[in-house]
Amino acid sequence: MNGGPLIVQSDKTLLLEVDHELAEACRRAIAPFAELERAPEHMHTYRVTPLGLWNARAAGHDAEQVVDALVEYARYPVPHALLVDIAETMARYGRLALSKHPTHGLVLESSDRPVLEEVLRSKKIQPLVGERIDPDTVVVHPSERGQIKQALLKLGWPAEDLAGYVDGEAHRIALEEDGWALRPYQQQAVEGFWHGGSGVVVLPCGAGKTLVGAGSMAKAQATTLILVTNTVSARQWKHELVRRTSLTEEEIGEYSGTKKEIRPVTIATYQVITTKRKGVYPHLELFDSRDWGLIVYDEVHLLPAPVFKFTADLQARRRLGLTATLVREDGRESDVFSLIGPKRFDAPWKEIENQGYIAPADCVEVRVSLTDSERLAYATAEPEEKYRFCATTDSKRRVTEALVRRHAGEQTLVIGQYIDQLDELGEHIGAPVIKGDTSNAQREKLFDAFRAGELSCLVVSKVANFSIDLPEATVAIQVSGTFGSRQEEAQRLGRVLRPKADGHEARFYSVVARDTIDQDFAAHRQRFLAEQGYAYRIVDSVDLLGEPDEV
């Protein structure tokens, strides 16, 4: 027992005691190979997964370092079997490598012949490979570069991609750091990505992921395709790029439902490229329309499945993924790993908050007791209607209104899932509602007014979940959500985390109906935040408002 801050569990989780004097050093030592799973106040939980270990290998760490880190910081002796397992798992990476052969083009090479024999016998691999050049080398068709990486990862023999990248069409891009500069962690993220070639940068919402993208573009000095979630987000990228880099309006194209511009830097929405007409994707040409040197995926955790398929064909181009969380509700983290690349940089939310780059937040769950008649109606509602019913009760509306009143004068967002509920709320509060059918022009107008402080309250539907930039929102009130989506919760919290001019603490309310399925979903959503270190307080609406719910 050496009293270290780390406890290694038999299920391969690592518990890090944050108050320990060595905690920081230990965190740095284990961060390369362990994924931070939960970061509540005292004990952070990291998980060692094969993916994480391979991430570490890809980043140039070896098993010895991993084992040393564990042994050095562990409070109790590390089970030998675990160390052996780590070494064996890590040794699986790089036994196979994709590389460029001077005459045969893309080849799969092996430093361990039995492994090659094993994978070549797999039915999944057979159609992807060509002729065997010598006992250790087999030809791979360049177009199968992504598929074979995916398939090999599934077999547990991840291939190291040494085949390199095409440079793409050169284009001058420079950061214009006048009066601002990349923050240290952004700089590290850019370096980490560039060094690795391709990969994912994980930064919390509001931590300036756009700038990491811009920084990477400046490194690449090449034409860039940026894929974003929606049009608003596309505009913001454009706006930000014009402001922060040498790029001009004319150099940046928007490829969306309304515009189809292809310029040296093109920003496209996931929606438009995944549009399917008569069984084909008509906008796929975008990928081939230019010799892109860099492809940026915003919000990787939302990447729609077809994009993975297209990405598989783009393995020769540098790829940068940006996200706040690698948690995917569909569990396709391994596709992100094999197709976009391993995690190249990652900074915990709280740490960036401590550095003052994002605002601290006070999360409050407001429990609303339903009236007897509502409870009865809830009990008899059809199962598929239950959530909608309890999420949109009048009791909740009243509490929401009271909260808005209490924070009158502060920039407040009311976020919800159901349009009827939002319309009704908007009417009662007297605030404009932004929803799916609000035109983009109208949206931007409202956002501008909100930014300028002319409007202090906005009611938004889930269209605002992603990438809208509302710097001065200090209060967010969540009235309903997409069931138990953790990732949505993180996004919504992100709305209020941008640093405030006055350093004011942000408030994040979730209004939840007591003893209903709403409460269960809320618990599930909050777990993610609690694990990120944002502790929820739970308050009864009566206690909070100091008066009965009745108006």
Binding site: I7, Q9, D11, L15, P40, Y76, P77, A535, R537
Partner: protein, 893 residues
């Protein structure tokens, strides 16, 4: 072979003739000359001689010479001592045939011959020690210059000799039987090798032997050998010394060798020899010449050293091992904690079923072989056993409860001491299971399975010795040194080359799943793996706290031990381990994400209750608990209140209790018990609560055990009809209520079955008479009527009670008694009566032996029965023919 005896009689014929007068003449005499401590040493080394305690030294000597005992003793020898014994067994100094003359070695001491067989400086240095060892074990006796190997040992070590040497020339010839060379053939041989002829075969053989023993002359002889002869000899040089050649038409080199007795026919039938495995043998003397006098190809006078593969810091080793020790204790506790709730059944053939092993392994999150190890360990430590019920199952023993109360260090010590001495080997289970890929290599039962854990067939007697020797060797290394397994195995082989062979052979005989790899090697591998799993070693090096165990056992190696001694060892180990184990904690860290982390082992009570209040999410050095509404409810179900839970968390949290957790507990407590569930058979419902109160207060309602559930409802465990009846008795007018709440109309209970069909008749008597029968009956009645009108001619019928009611039959039997006719006549009478429809008199004896007369009108004679209308009884009856004494036609007057 000599006829050495070990008896104490001074007139033993095999007393060595060349022994000095002062030397012992028998083993018994030799033993008699030893002092008490030497005898004690002998008995310690060969404890089997002690059961039962021999009466005297003669008996002791006899017993020491029994085959079983010698085999056991040889197993306890190290490689060099064994090689010494092997060499001694082939020394030409074997006692000469009784009655023989002075042996050739009369001048050369056996001791020197032995030294020649075991060349090398190291061997020479170690030889006295090896001989002393053999002597101490009473395998060797006699004077120092002429050590004599026990006869049984000599037999064991020469049939065949492990050195690969064949019998001496004299013995070969003697054993050759029909193939024995004739005297003339011997003379021929002498001539061939250039020796002068002799008078008799014995001296001829002596001359040949002397030649073979003389290296110079042999070299000269072999130099003349034709091409190919040497190759033949070299083939047999290192054994086995037998070869198969065509004796009828030997090839020239073989013929040359046979002519010079360098190869001797064994007389064995080709292919099926009874005395020797081949048709020719290389005599020992020749082989020794070829070998340059060495008895062994590889002589191993010194123990091969155990190489150190890696060296770790001693604290690292101890810490790693202690971590495993914690895991070991926790795993056994978890295993048995599971089994006490769901005891797995015992297979009919004994042992744990494959499915239960799988389930247990899955529950412990371990591979099956590992789970089998823990199960066997718990069994060896006496913590689990079969309960002996009708549906036999495995369950923790009372010793388990005691074990649970001990400190972790003591618990571990109990396990490890049990493991150290156990002969059960869980490793066999792992080998046998088809799940393992190499499965089929080992012999297995028909279904390809190895022995079941806890079942029979897992005991391997050499297991503890291998385990203990291995650990002792580890203990000899510098602290923190992890050995190279191969060298360790080599060393173990050197120390006890024969160990395990017997057990392996026995197991193979029993059809157990042995074979394949050498048992000893497998035992060693299991021992080392298990030691690591248990925390006896850390990273392959022996943990310092195990030394008390290894030392204690080293003093008195294996064998049953007094329990007191075991307790001392266990306490010493526990004491040594204790400082390496983390102190149990009394506080946990509570977090806002509704988890609690115990950053180390917790105090038992705390761990137990926290296990109820929260779900365990992750185990290891620390334990992570998660609070959920269900787990909090579980805690409330145990009778605790929310306040208790808050107090508990406050007391055991090193940080303030997070608000969401407090809220969770209050929230669950708020709803806990809101709904109440109970059982009742009937209820009383009434809108007037005063009336219900009245009923409740009435003493007559006491037997109904009414309980007020609500102001307007009473519940009772009595069935509704009783309740109704009693309430009516009390003067109330209750109405019954259906499940839907309707009033059930009171109707007299008219119970009905579900639809049923009437039973099919099962007629016993004759079927209903048909018209033919009826006609016959009528006719018979008439006939009877006629009969009644006949005048009485015989005396009164004493048998006929009907005489009162009607007149007696009017046709008495001829002699006044029963009618008597022979069967054939009876039958004929009956048949004609049937045809004619007339009545007959019959005499009938019923089942009770009572005789009577009857008048019947037979209708049917069939299958030995007569059916007819009995006028006497006025009904149709059936009589067995054999009961009818006779028949006579009723003659009408």
């Amino acid at each position: 072979m000599s006829s050495e005896q070990n008896g104490g009689s001074p007139s033993q014929p095999d007393a060595p003739p060349d022994a000095p007068a002062s030397g012992p003449r028998t083993l018994a005499e030799d033993l008699r000359a030893r002092d008490d401590s030497a005898l004690a040493a002998l008995l310690r080394a060969r404890p089997d001689l002690l059961s039962p305690v021999p009466g005297d030294l003669t008996q002791l000597a006899t017993r020491a010479g029994t085959r079983a005992s010698v085999v056991r003793a040889l197993e306890q020898l190290d490689q060099f001592t064994l090689q010494t014994a092997e060499a001694l067994a082939v020394t030409p100094a074997a006692p000469p045939p009784s009655g023989g003359g002075r042996p050739r070695q009369g001048t050369t001491a056996v001791r020197e011959a032995l030294a020649e067989l075991l060349p090398g400086e190291e061997a020479a240095e170690r030889l006295p020690q090896a001989l002393a060892e053999l002597r101490a074990r009473a395998l060797v006796w006699g004077p120092a210059q002429h050590p004599r190997l026990l006869r049984t040992a000599r037999e064991l070590l020469t049939s065949p000799s492990p050195t690969g040497l064949g019998p001496a020339l004299v013995e070969v010839v003697a054993a050759a039987g029909p193939a024995k060379p004739s005297p003339s053939r011997l003379q021929e041989m002498l001539a061939r090798v250039g020796l002068p002829g002799t008078h008799d075969p014995v001296s001829a053989l002596s001359a040949l032997t002397a030649l073979f023993n003389d290296s110079e002359r042999m070299a000269a002889l072999l130099a003349e050998a034709p091409e190919g002869a040497e190759a033949v000899l070299r083939k047999l040089e290192w054994g086995p010394p037998y070869g198969a050649v065509d004796l009828e038409a030997p090839s020239p080199p073989v013929a040359w060798l046979l002519d010079r007795a360098l190869l001797v026919p064994t007389g064995a039938e080709p292919g099926g020899g009874q005395s020797a495995p081949g048709s020719v043998v290389l005599p020992r003397e020749v082989a020794l010449q070829l070998r340059g006098g060495r008895a062994h190809r590889v002589l191993e006078p010194t123990a091969p050293p155990v190489a150190v593969a890696r060296t770790y810091q001693a604290p690292t080793v101890d810490a790693t091992a202690a971590g495993q020790a914690m895991t070991a204790v926790a795993t056994v506790e978890e295993l048995l904690g599971r089994w006490e709730a769901e005891p797995p059944p015992v297979l009919r053939a004994g042992g744990l079923g494959v499915r239960d092993l799988k389930r247990t392994a899955a529950a412990l999150d371990l591979p099956e072989p590992a789970a089998a190890f823990w199960i066997e360990l718990a069994y060896a430590a006496g913590l689990v056993a079969s309960d002996g019920e009708v549906d036999e199952a495995y369950a923790p023993t009372p010793a388990y409860d005691e074990w649970l109360r001990a400190t972790p260090a003591e618990r571990w010590a109990t396990l490890v001491v049990a493991w150290y001495r156990a002969t059960r080997t869980a490793g066999l289970v792992g080998e046998g299971h088809p799940a393992l890929e190499r499965g089929r290599e080992w012999g297995k039962d028909a279904r390809g399975r190895g022995p079941a854990p806890l079942g029979p067939g897992l005991d391997r007697s050499p297991a503890p010795e291998v385990r203990q020797r291995a650990l002792r060797l580890l203990a000899e290394l510098a602290p923190g040194s992890a050995p190279d397994r191969d060298t360790l195995r080599e060393r173990l082989r050197w120390e006890r080359p024969l160990l395990g062979n017997r057990a392996a052979a026995r197991a193979t005989e029993q059809g157990a799943a042995d074979g394949g790899q050498e048992l000893r090697t497998r035992l060693l591998n299991w021992a080392l793996d298990e030691a690591e799993t248990l925390g006896v070693t850390g990273r392959g090096a022996l943990a310092s706290y195990v030394r008390p165990l290894v030392d204690a056992e080293a003093e008195e190696p294996h064998g049953p031990r007094a329990s007191q001694e075991t307790d001392t060892t266990r306490a010493a180990v526990a004491q040594a381990l204790a400082p390496h184990l983390p102190e149990p904690l009394s506080e946990v860290l509570l977090q806002a994400d509704l988890t609690a982390v115990a950053p180390g082992p917790l105090e038992r009570d705390l761990a137990a209750f926290l296990g109820v209040l929260a779900d365990v999410e992750s185990k290891g050095g620390a334990t992570v608990y998660r609070f959920t509404p269900e787990s909090v409810r579980r805690a409330l179900d145990t009778g605790r209140t929310a306040a208790d839970l808050h107090a508990f968390l406050d007391a055991h949290s090193s940080t303030p209790v997070p608000q969401p957790l407090t809220y969770l507990i209050d929230d669950v407590a708020r709803r806990h018990g809101q709904l109440r569930v109970g059982a009742a058979s009937s209820y009383v419902r009434c809108d007037d609560d005063a009336l219900l109160a009245e009923i409740l207060a009435d003493r007559r309602s006491a037997p109904l055990r009414l309980r007020k559930l609500a102001p307007t409802v009473l519940a009772s465990p009595a069935p509704p009809d009783q309740l109704l009846a009693r309430l009516r008795e009390m003067g109330y007018a209750p109405a019954a209520e259906s499940a839907e709440g309707d009033v059930l109309l009171a109707r007299a209970a008219a119970h009905r079955t579900p639809p049923r069909t009437a039973p099919e008749p099962v007629p016993e008597g004759p079927p209903a008479p048909d018209s033919a029968l009826l006609t016959a009956a009528v006719r018979a009645i008439r006939a009877g009527d006629h009969a009644a009108t006949l005048p009485l001619s015989a005396g009164p019928d004493r048998q006929a009670p009907w005489a009162d009611r009607r007149k007696a039959p009017s046709a008495p039997p001829p002699e006044g008694g029963l009618p008597r006719t022979v069967m054939a006549e009876t039958l004929a009478t009956m048949q004609s009566a049937t045809l004619s429809g007339t009545a007959v008199w019959i005499g009938y004896v019923n089942a009770d032996g009572a005789a009577s007369q009857r008048v019947i009108a037979p209708v049917k004679v069939e299958g030995g029965f007569v059916t007819g209308y009995d006028h006497t009884a006025d009904e149709v009856r059936t009589y067995p023919l054999h009961r009818i004494t006779g028949a006579a036609e009723v003659t009408e007057a």
